[in-house]
């Protein structure tokens, strides 16, 4: 492929974003489900691993699509879910809050 200008690259990245949006939404679904389970004191170890994985993948990807704040938020969740003993119970509300913020960021990306 011949080198392209910045506008063409941005357009191409936007097309990739549209292609992978369902995958991003699925990762946020996982985080919302885990946050709700944790708030109800029902977070299984499998759900914790899935949430950690979803947060890790979002942290690694969102910034490349221009959502730097999304990477910061997802990284915060990754740290919380990566604790062997599970997230700190005092942070239950924060888990849900971050998942909701991620949802908003993803749905509102231009």
């Amino acid at each position: 492929m011949d080198p392209i200008d910045q506008n063409a690259l941005t357009e191409a990245i936007n097309r990739l974003w549209a292609q992978f949006l369902p995958q991003m939404r699925g990762r946020v679904d996982t985080l919302e489900t885990a946050a709700a389970a944790f708030a109800a004191n029902k977070l299984s170890s499998a759900q914790q691993v899935q949430a950690n994985d979803a947060a890790h993948k979002l942290a690694g990807a969102l910034g490349s699509f221009g959502l730097t704040k999304g990477t910061v938020l997802a990284r915060e969740l990754e740290i919380m879910y990566s604790r062997e003993s599970g997230p700190d119970s005092a942070l239950a509300a924060r888990l849900g809050q971050i998942a909701a913020e991620l949802r908003t960021l993803i749905e509102n990306r231009k």
Binding site: I4, F20, A61
Partner: protein, 130 residues
């Protein structure tokens, strides 16, 4: 935006996450004009490295099955791929992880998320292709 006209380097991207793979490939092809081949696992990456003989390999750390460090060691064992520069790509930002990865003997450790506009210049800088 930095472009490298006339130098069509060959890059192999090994990453199990298709969104990362696609953005990285788009970035390297479109910004730098490099030739890119991708693999979605360590095992596939080993085979592609032998077939494609890339000038460098961009290798994800966390992959199911054969992870990045294991894939790197396998690349080094094979005389056909032992001398290909490898750059690790990771979303792990903790300093202990960074030291562990650097100790493997890779050319560099790059971090996710990367900027698609500057990924190629980062790689070129590390490998002295500028």
């Amino acid at each position: 935006m930095e472009v490298f006209p006339g130098v069509a380097h060959r890059i192999l991207i090994i990453d199990d996450e298709d969104d990362i793979r696609e953005v990285a490939a788009l970035s390297l092809e479109s910004v730098a004009g490099w030739e890119v081949v991708t693999a979605n696992s360590g095992a596939q990456g080993l085979a592609r490295a032998v077939e494609f003989r890339p000038d460098a390999i961009l290798l994800d750390v966390m992959m199911p099955g054969m992870d990045g460090p294991t894939t790197f060691r396998e690349l080094r064992k094979n005389p056909a791929t032992a001398r290909i520069p490898v750059l690790l790509l990771t979303a792990k930002v903790q300093s202990t992880d960074q030291r562990r990865f650097a100790d493997l003997g890779v050319e560099a450790v790059l971090f996710k998320p990367f900027d698609p506009l500057t990924l190629s210049s980062q790689i070129a800088g590390v490998l002295g292709w500028n």
